[in-house]
């Protein structure tokens, strides 16, 4: 088959699945937070199969509100797209796009399966995989900064500033926390990282990787602007922060991008620490069934981690701006450096199987 066609199929497939998961992770968040808060949560809209003449619908999954994402999307699209008169229109429009696009682009370099019919399940198996991922992921904050600035309003402005400051602090910790992994694997290529983990144990199984793993998780919370680090948004402080002036689909873009980033962060965590698509007792290579199984294993791990993101959000309060910075620069950065050092010692001592 034409390689371009294969790539197109993969791109459409990845973006489609990603947006689908995004939509349903929103539903999952609402159901789970309802569970945590002793509420019912959405429980009305199912997937409609047939609409009777009297207007009532035969629907499935109404109890779990499986149709909620469809309704939410329809609402976002049909709401009035109000652009306040005082905004800088060009950048105001550019903001949501700049947030959404990198969130999707990152997936180009993430291996979401082994091979299917001889085709590697990654869109672009570049040799600087992790660097590409971080470079693209950090572009997302420009959307937040631009959105905050272009809104020409004080609360979004403060939100934008917080977003940029936060990203700069945590990008560094994020980058430093994964260096130990690549010291062990010996390649920046993400498929290599997964292959290494199929041959040895998952990277999280080695004690010297625990510290980087913790720093990575905490930093990715900050990186994705999720609670307890959702300072740029900070509903109760900045009344919505950078997205205060946005409505309709432009707001939905910001909203979806947050979830897309959350899934990306989970996927990276899975690839880097939790063995990617690998699961013990599942053959590493095989026919179509094994290839599909690998994709499913990967998605299951990603969703499980995304649930952790949701769980944390509804449990802990928000940290303060300066405390966040202090944590990043004074705690995580030295610890991440220490992690590099410890792993180096482990490799020199010959404990690391590489």
């Amino acid at each position: 088959m034409d390689p371009i066609l294969i790539h197109l199929i993969k791109i459409v497939g990845v973006v489609g699945v990603l947006l689908f998961i995004c939509a349903y992770i929103v539903l999952a968040e609402r159901r789970i937070c309802a569970f945590i808060q002793d509420r019912l949560g959405p429980n009305r809209v199912g997937i409609p199969l047939w609409i009777r003449k009297d207007g009532s619908a035969i629907q499935i999954g109404a109890r779990w509100a499986l149709g909620q994402p469809i309704i939410d999307a329809l609402k976002a699209i049909f709401k009035e797209d109000f652009v306040p008169g005082h905004v800088n229109k060009f950048y105001f429009w550019l903001g949501p796009m700049l947030v959404m696009a990198p969130a999707l682009m990152v997936w180009a370099a993430i291996p979401f399966g082994s091979t299917l019919c001889g085709v590697p399940m990654i869109i672009a198996d570049v040799n600087v995989g992790i660097l590409l991922v971080f470079a693209l992921a950090s572009l997302g904050v420009y959307g937040i900064v631009l959105g905050g600035w272009a809104s020409n309003s004080k609360y979004p402005f403060l939100g934008g500033i917080r977003g940029s400051a936060q990203l700069i602090s945590y990008e560094l910790c994020l980058g430093l926390s994964v260096i130990p992994l690549f010291m062990q694997v010996g390649s920046l290529r993400l498929t290599e990282v997964v292959r290494w983990q199929t041959e040895h144990l998952w990277l999280v199984c080695y004690p010297w990787n625990w510290l980087p793993a913790i720093i990575y998780v905490a930093s990715s919370f900050a990186e994705t602007n999720r609670a307890p680090f959702d300072l740029p948004e900070a509903e109760q402080e900045l009344a919505g922060g950078y997205n205060t002036e946005y409505s309709s689909m432009k707001f939905a873009m910001f909203f979806l991008a947050e979830y897309a980033n959350m899934i990306t962060a989970s996927a990276l965590m899975v690839v880097l620490f939790l063995g990617g698509w690998h699961l013990p007792f599942v053959p590493v290579s095989g026919g179509i069934a094994v290839g599909v199984a690998h994709i499913c294993i990967f998605l299951a791990k990603v969703c499980a981690l995304a649930l952790v993101f949701i769980w944390v959000r509804w449990t802990v309060p928000r940290v303060r701006y300066d405390q966040l910075m202090g944590l990043g620069w004074k705690v995580f950065l030295p610890l991440a450096l220490a992690g590099v050092l410890i792993t180096g010692l482990a490799i020199v001592a010959g404990w690391s199987p590489s």
Partner: protein, 435 residues
């Protein structure tokens, strides 16, 4: 700003269930000794920087109603804060001059609308003080129970909203569930959930319905579990402590100077509770403790509220046990409405009914000030009568008004995020601030 030396917080606790929780909080404080951070020194600016004025409110998620604060910001640091009040001013005091004493009771619901029952009680006590009217013990117990239930309800809201402001959204829903149970009790007792208007001059609107005490007991038995859950989720939470400790420190003397009352005053370490200092109703009959903070920061105010809810449960349990029988209203039909069946059958009662409804209870000329320890602080009513059934002047001393006056002092030098924490910890309500 003067920040007191690091000390171990001491919340006076007697009940065993709470001791563990507060001991944990105290232990956490000891483990992490409080370093009173000096306010950041004014940076030497090379570039001329503009300060930004940010309007927080009147419609902002964390200004709890319609408070507006004009913040002058240097980056995110507040350099000056000016609370702007009056968005909820309804002229209640002037309205009172045109209503009979009983007709004003529903207006007191709208003062602190998170604890309407307590406002009703405070108001009628002021009028009764002027009249020199004593109500039967059953009525006193009933009123005290109303006050304590209102206190729990208000504190639940205060703590929930404080968590909400700090981004802990779950606690709010948990406390709201408990509040809902209280509101069901209010509804059974008074017929209304929010605007209870339960008290009358010389008594209350009606006696307790059948089975109500049993339901209240059931609530009192299960409710402390929710406080313990909130304790587990919030009190010992590292982020919550970091956000609240040494934030918005209100020293004793400043608190007294500004006329801060209620849990906010006690959070600053002043052991002043009107229920103990000038006992009214039947508070002498109850055993309860007055929790006091030591540092006067947001965390202390939070702890004091948590403990006050437990103490209110204690009071309510004792009240359920000791509730005396007998009439619920004062036997003075010139003041309180006579029973309906007598009104329909007897001449004298019919006249009394007519006079009380049309002219109001006759209050002798004079003036009286009475203040009660409400959930938000000291709610006072100053009544001046020139005789007749309508007050000549009614002045309301709303605790939130005085509590908010300290904001310019407190907010200076803090971050925007701290402004939210401080507002949350002050648990004000604009209804009684603006009146």
């Amino acid at each position: 700003m003067s920040i007191p030396q690091p000390k171990v917080a001491k919340v006076i606790v007697k009940t065993p269930a709470t001791r563990a929780a507060v001991a944990r909080a105290v232990a956490a404080r000891v483990a992490a000794p409080r370093v009173a951070e000096a306010p950041p020194p004014a940076p030497e600016l090379e570039l001329p920087c503009e300060k930004m004025v940010l309007n927080m409110g009147p419609s902002h998620p964390s200004t709890h109603g319609v408070l507006r604060i004009a913040l002058e910001l240097d980056g995110e640091i507040v350099t000056a804060a000016r609370p702007e009040i009056g968005y909820l001013h309804r002229g209640g005091e002037k309205i009172a001059e045109n209503l009979t004493y009983n007709q004003f009771v529903p207006y007191t619901d709208r003062l602190d609308y998170l604890a309407p029952l307590a406002n009703n009680v405070a108001y009628v006590l002021a009028v009764e003080k002027l009249m020199g009217l004593a109500v039967p013990p059953r009525c006193q117990y009933l009123r005290a129970m109303c006050c304590e239930m209102a206190r729990i309800s208000s504190h639940l809201m205060g703590i929930g909203a404080m968590g909400l402001d700090l981004g802990a959204l779950t606690v709010f829903l948990w406390t709201f569930t408990e509040r809902e149970r209280l509101y069901a009790l209010f509804e059974k007792l008074t017929g209304a959930r929010l605007t209870n208007s339960f008290t009358r001059i010389g008594g209350v609107a009606r006696d307790i319905p059948d089975g109500w005490i049993a339901e209240l007991r059931q609530f009192l038995d299960t409710f402390p579990k929710t406080i313990d859950e909130v304790d587990k989720l919030l009190t010992g939470n590292r982020i919550f402590m970091d956000r609240n400790r040494d934030v918005g420190v209100l020293p004793k003397d400043v608190a007294i100077d500004y006329g801060v009352t209620g849990p906010n005053l006690r959070g600053s370490g002043v052991k002043y509770d009107l229920r103990k200092a000038h006992p009214y109703l039947c508070y002498k009959d109850f055993e309860f403790d007055v929790p006091v903070g030591e540092v006067g920061d947001c965390y202390d105010r939070y702890l004091v509220r948590m403990e006050e809810m437990r103490q209110s449960v204690r009071i309510l349990k004792q009240a359920c046990d000791k509730l005396p029988g007998g009439p619920v209203n004062a036997p003075d039909f010139k003041t309180i409405l006579p029973p309906k069946e007598k009104v329909l059958t007897r001449m004298e009662e019919l006249i009394h009914q007519f006079m009380v409804v049309t002219e109001g209870p006759n209050v002798p000329p004079g003036e009286a000030f009475f203040s009660a320890e409400n959930a938000k602080g000291e709610l006072g009513f100053y009544v001046i009568s020139r005789g007749g059934g309508v007050p000549w002047r009614l002045k309301i001393r709303g605790p939130s008004f005085c509590n908010l006056s300290v904001l310019p002092y407190l907010l200076k030098g803090h971050l925007i995020a701290d402004v939210v924490a401080i507002l949350g910890s002050f648990d004000f309500v604009m209804g009684e601030c603006d009146r």
